[in-house]
Structure formats: structure tokens, C-alpha cells
């Protein structure tokens, strides 16, 4: 009980100290209040799905300076929107070329699972990231064309399987995107192969 009564006094003392310190600092150190502000920005940046790419140091320092005049939250939202715009934009300038859509760590893990003995350079992870993005775009386009031929509004598994089987480029996906067949047809095929062997 006694300890609980002490705590608010200590808090009040701290608040008073901070109040007394603040006006002095405001005149000379408007930027000191930013100590805590950059941290949430970084944590929010990390929480994004893709890697932020290579940030421009000049822009980051300028944005930190601007925070003294403006609130933190709207700047974070603006940064998120800017990032989304960068990711959403077409193949534009150098900034867009260096932004990666997928997490680098995940790409590394997939590469290591394929072959753990081989070492990979940083370039490789970036290039695989970009190549995968381009592959997905192309495969989606081809799948969509198939869905348009099928007169369907939505792209479904069936269209992707059709594309994977029709084009030689996607032969490596034939085992991963098999075409769906009816159970009756599958059983007939199994029986015919068994009778053929026997």
C-alpha cells in the first residue's frame, strides 16, 4: 500500500523535472525529442511484408529533421504510402529497381533448403528475388489469358494447371500443378497400367 503511494509521487517528480527541462530544451534542442521517434519508424518499417530495399540516407535524415515540426504518425503513414507506391509503380528509375518484393531471409532459406553446401553472395538473393517476381508476373498473365479464353472472371487453379501443361517453359511445374481429373478416370488408368504390367 505504502509502495503504491510512493510511486505516483515519484512519477510526479519525474514529470516536474521533465516539465522544467522541456522549456529549456525547446529553445535550443528541438531535435532531442526525436530520440524515441525514429525507433517506432524502424519497427514499423520492419513489420512490412517485403524488404524496404535500399533506402536513401539523405532522405532518411531529412525526414527525421522534419519530424520535429510535424507529428510522427502521419509521417509514418506517408512513408508507408510512398513505399506502396514505389512497389506498385512500374519499372521506373533506380529506386524501383533496387526494391525487393519478398523477404530476403525467406529467399535465403529456400535456397539453402535446395543446397546447403553452396555459399551464395548478396547479389544472388537480390536477383532471385527479382527473377521470382518476374516469373510470377508472367505466369499470372498467362493464367489470366487462359481464364479469359475460358470466359471466367476469376483466375483459378484449373487455368494455372492448363498453362503449366501446355507450355514447355513451365514443364518443371508439371508435378506441382497437376491437372485435376475425375477419380473414375484415375482409377481406370491405374487398372489399365496394372493389367498391362500383369
Amino acid at each position: 500500500m505504502a509502495s503504491s503511494s510512493k510511486k505516483p509521487k515519484e512519477e510526479n517528480k519525474k514529470k516536474e523535472k521533465s516539465k522544467t527541462e522541456k522549456p529549456e530544451k525547446k529553445a535550443s534542442t528541438p531535435q532531442k525529442s526525436n530520440k524515441s521517434k525514429p525507433k517506432p519508424d524502424k519497427s514499423r518499417k520492419k513489420s512490412s511484408n517485403g524488404t524496404p530495399g535500399i533506402p536513401d540516407p539523405s532522405s532518411s535524415t531529412e525526414s527525421n529533421e522534419n519530424k520535429t515540426q510535424k507529428n510522427v504518425k502521419p509521417n509514418n503513414k506517408r512513408k508507408r504510402k510512398e513505399k506502396e507506391e514505389e512497389n506498385g509503380g512500374g519499372g521506373g528509375g533506380g529506386g524501383e529497381a533496387t526494391v525487393c518484393r519478398f523477404p530476403m531471409n525467406r529467399i535465403k532459406r529456400i535456397i539453402k533448403s535446395e543446397d546447403s553446401s553452396v555459399a551464395i553472395s548478396q547479389d544472388v538473393v537480390f536477383l532471385v528475388n527479382k527473377a521470382t517476381e518476374m516469373f510470377l508476373e508472367k505466369f499470372s498473365e498467362d493464367g489470366y489469358k487462359c481464364s479469359v479464353k475460358d470466359r471466367k472472371k476469376s483466375l483459378s487453379y484449373k487455368h494455372l494447371a492448363t498453362v503449366a501443361h501446355e507450355r514447355k517453359r513451365y514443364d518443371f511445374l508439371s508435378d506441382y500443378v497437376p491437372q485435376k481429373i475425375k477419380a473414375e478416370d484415375a482409377l481406370k488408368e491405374m487398372n489399365s497400367t496394372e493389367t498391362g504390367k500383369g
Partner: protein
């Protein structure tokens, strides 16, 4: 379940890429997105497997960007190979610029620290120098 999800790329990223390339009116089923996740992982394994085989034949231990470009061309992704070579150059230029900027900021930090130490000895109250302290802290924090 967790292992499988870690083996695949995030479905949100995959879905975003698909939506961006397709017309706004197009819809994508969940099964299609999941299939694309699997296909992306298989693509990565396919390309890096080919590149690592090439390195093994040439008795090299490290796979580099040029091996990936070669693998894409060998596997029939010629269009991707050309664009990837360009991305590789841009990435390397960006990395060099970043390294140069980091070196420049580190040198500024060391110079500012020396100035502060000398000024601190002379003047205990540093209303004029405090902004530079904050700048240092911001720069250090950014590293």
C-alpha cells in the same frame, strides 16, 4: 504447418504482385494464390539448383549473380535473363553508393565527436552544440 509456411513466400506478397499485373476487374482464387506460392518456391529451387550445378562443375564454392543470369538463360527464361542483368548492374551501383555514403557519414561522425570533446572541455553549457549532438545520435541510430 509452420515449416511449410516458412518454405514458401508470403501469400500476401504473392497476391499483391498478381493483382498489380492483372486488370483491376480480375479476381484470383485463394487456391490459385496458394498454387503460385508453391510455384515460386519451385522456381527458386530450379534456378538456384542449375546455378549451383554450374559452380560445382567449375569447382567454385560461391554462386554469384552471373551464375543466376546464366541459369535463367539456360532454363528458357531469356527475357528474364536480360532484365536481370540490368537489375544486377543497378543493384551493384546502388550498393557502391550506399557504401560511399556510409563512409562519408562515419567520417563526419568522427570529426563532430572530436569537435564536441574539445568544446565540452571549454564550455560546460552547450546550447549551440546540442543540435549537432542530436544529429550525431540520429546518424548513429540510422546505422
Amino acid at each position: 504447418m509452420v515449416d511449410e509456411q516458412e518454405r514458401l513466400l508470403p501469400i500476401a506478397n504473392v497476391g499483391r504482385i498478381m493483382k498489380q499485373i492483372l486488370p483491376p476487374s480480375a479476381k484470383v482464387s485463394k487456391e490459385a494464390k496458394q498454387t503460385m506460392q508453391e510455384c515460386a518456391t519451385e522456381f527458386i529451387s530450379f534456378v538456384t539448383g542449375e546455378a549451383s550445378d554450374k559452380c560445382r562443375k567449375e569447382n567454385r564454392k560461391t554462386v554469384n549473380g552471373d551464375d543466376i543470369c546464366w541459369a535463367l538463360g539456360a532454363l528458357g527464361f531469356d527475357n528474364h535473363a536480360d532484365a536481370i542483368v540490368r537489375y544486377l548492374h543497378k543493384f551493384r551501383v546502388a550498393e557502391r553508393d550506399k557504401a560511399a555514403q556510409n563512409k562519408a557519414s562515419c567520417s563526419r561522425n568522427s570529426q563532430d565527436k572530436e569537435e564536441e570533446e574539445s568544446s565540452q572541455d571549454q564550455q560546460p553549457h552547450q546550447q549551440a552544440d546540442v543540435p549537432s549532438n542530436s544529429k550525431l545520435q540520429v546518424l548513429e541510430f540510422s546505422h
